[in-house]
């Protein structure tokens, strides 16, 4: 089994936000929820860099550790998923998540924030693969169809890479060697406790 990871090559990201749009469309994500987002660092100054960020599917995920109902689980592909049936919307995963990935339908609303929603690595949820019930709660399950996450698949500059960690790390390494620079594998040290030596 592969160890699935995301890698955003910030030197290639052109902040087109197509990954965000593709994600929203593919999973019919409701208003106010953004499983993926693009943030620009040092915007407007020379050397600004944009990074597309979503759940990084951490090794030893902090969200799973702090969840009071233990609603998270890690798949054989090392994708971190959760059960919306068990989630109580307490918001603890958001405090623990280093990447701000968990989203709630009713932010800051008194009483309940609703069931948490986050990037599923296009791998659905605990329901049977590609059923209506799974789609309604978690969106489509591309991984079960043998496809990679849509955000990375349709990235116009191939900045966002998804797939087996070793393979995408190799691709990134080759890029950096060839062009002579790289701003780093954003989030890797925090999510996977490893970085790509270039």
């Amino acid at each position: 089994m592969a160890r699935m990871k995301f890698l955003c090559d910030a030197d290639r990201c052109i902040e087109c936000n197509a990954c965000v749009t593709a994600c929203k469309n593919e999973h019919e994500v409701p208003w106010g929820i953004n499983r993926r987002r693009v943030v620009t660092i040092n915007d407007g100054t020379p050397g600004e860099r944009s990074v597309s960020m979503a759940c990084m599917h951490c090794t030893d995920a902090p969200c799973a550790a702090v969840c009071p109902t233990s609603c998270f689980y890690t798949t054989a592909d090392a994708v971190v998923l959760h059960s919306k049936d068990l989630c109580i919307g307490c918001g603890y995963c958001f405090y623990a998540c280093p990447f701000g990935a968990p989203q709630y339908p009713r932010v800051g609303n008194f009483g309940s924030r609703g069931k948490m929603d986050k990037c599923t690595y296009c791998a659905g949820g605990p329901e049977d693969d590609n059923t209506a019930a799974e789609y309604e709660k978690y969106g489509s399950n591309r991984l079960a169809e043998g496809k990679l996450p849509l955000c990375a698949e349709m990235c116009s500059t191939k900045s966002l890479l998804a797939g087996d960690g070793d393979i995408i790390a190799q691709i990134y390494k080759e890029r950096v060697t060839k062009r002579g620079y790289g701003s780093g594998a954003w989030g890797w040290q925090t999510a996977y406790r490893e970085t790509i030596a270039t």
């Binding site: 910030a10 030197d11 936000n17 106010g32 953004n34 987002r37 693009v38 943030v39 620009t40 660092i41 040092n42 915007d43 100054t45 020379p46 050397g47 600004e48 860099r49 944009s50 990074v51 960020m53 902090p62 550790a65 702090v66 969840c67 009071p68 109902t69 233990s70 609603c71 049936d85 068990l86 989630c87 109580i88 919307g89 307490c90 918001g91 603890y92 958001f94 405090y95 623990a96 998540c97 280093p98 990447f99 701000g100 932010v107 800051g108 008194f110 009483g111 309940s112 924030r113 620079y181 790289g182 701003s183 780093g184 594998a185 954003w186 989030g187 040290q189 925090t190 970085t195």
Partner: protein, 338 residues
């Protein structure tokens, strides 16, 4: 002649253009060096993390917290929530229970030395008792549902299974949210009702020196509230307000631009103060029920036995009886002998 003039003008113009181009070429070459380094001033992830321990930028979403793309301090919060808080909680609550059991075994119930007199005196009126019990009932449910958030998954989840536990936790979360209102109101009410009797004074020092009469049979004098009760009062008032403030921050997350760091700290304080609060109230519950004969009636019927009152709150009883006689109020009610 006009054609010559035209030709001269044309030659002059061509020379001028040539000169302009010749001058412009080196200037353009200066602006665009042949070697381009696109990372000359670019940000690097590891450098940002090292310097700021947080990476933030500009996003297109109205949700401002989406602009923080990395906050590794979530890890510290996780460590607190999963390890530190559990230890504090276990030590405070299990430790307090152990202390109370040891105390009960050694000291037993504190009896009324003179025995019951049969005559009673009103200690807490209906409003005072209502405020107490509104706070108490809310507190017990708040405490249990709060402990469930930290310990439920280790203690309760394996017993009842994930679905039942999730349903219970959801209900507990709602209870925790909504009961915060009667709890806060109760604390506020008790503050107003009892603050005048809870100002620390000199006799409190004496009371503490004598160990409150908990050890041995001597009872140091006290007014309406002794030093121990005053401590409970201030623990409840200060702890209650600390819990309310941090709790409402957690209930209305990120309101008014609160950052994730503030939310994490609110949770840390809420957890630690809550656990210590529960431990303190366990002692309060013990001494109000099992630990002392005649104490529960104060909050039960509101009428305490006169001998109990004389032993524990001598100065208060003297004051109260004196006032009643002066105001020709009815004497303490007699209970028929049965």
């Amino acid at each position: 002649m006009p054609s010559l003039l035209k030709r001269i003008r044309w030659i002059f113009g061509a020379v001028a253009l040539l000169a302009l181009v010749a001058m412009a070429v080196p200037a353009a070459a200066q602006q665009q060096p042949s070697l381009i380094n696109p990372t000359a001033s670019s940000v690097k992830e590891d450098q940002l993390l090292r310097e700021l321990n947080r990476i933030q930028g500009r996003g297109t979403l109205p949700d401002l917290k989406s602009q923080v793309i990395e906050q590794p301090q979530g890890r510290s919060w996780r460590q607190f929530h999963e390890v530190t808080l559990r230890w504090i909680c276990a030590i405070a609550i299990v430790g307090m229970l152990a202390l109370l059991i040891i105390f009960y075994v050694v000291r037993g119930t504190v009896r009324i030395i003179a025995g019951r007199s049969g005559r009673t005196i009103l200690r807490f009126n209906f409003l005072e008792r209502a405020a107490h019990w509104m706070t108490a009932v809310s507190f017990i449910i708040l405490g249990l549902s709060g402990l469930n958030v930290t310990f439920g998954k280790t203690l309760l989840l394996p017993l009842v299974g994930p679905e039942a536990f999730a349903n219970f936790s959801l209900a507990a979360k709602y209870a925790h949210n909504y009961l915060s209102f009667p709890f806060t109101l109760g604390v506020l009410l008790m503050l107003i009702l009892w603050i005048k009797d809870n100002i620390p004074e000199r006799i409190d020092v004496e009371w503490i020196k004598q160990g409150g009469g908990m050890v041995g049979d001597r009872h140091p004098p006290a007014r309406r509230f002794n030093a121990g009760q005053k401590m409970v009062f201030w623990v409840v008032v200060l702890g209650g307000f600390a819990m309310a403030i941090t709790g409402y921050v957690l209930m209305f997350p990120f309101y008014g631009g609160l950052s994730i760091g503030v939310m994490q700290w609110a949770q840390i304080l809420h957890g630690v103060i809550g656990v210590l609060f529960v431990a303190a109230i366990l002692a309060h519950i013990y001494i109000g029920t099992l630990g002392m004969e005649g104490a529960f009636e104060a909050m039960g019927s509101g009428e305490v036995d006169l001998n109990w009152a004389k032993e524990h709150h001598r100065l208060w009883v003297e004051e109260e009886l004196g006032r009643r006689e002066a105001g020709s109020a009815p004497r303490p009610r007699l209970r028929p002998a049965e």
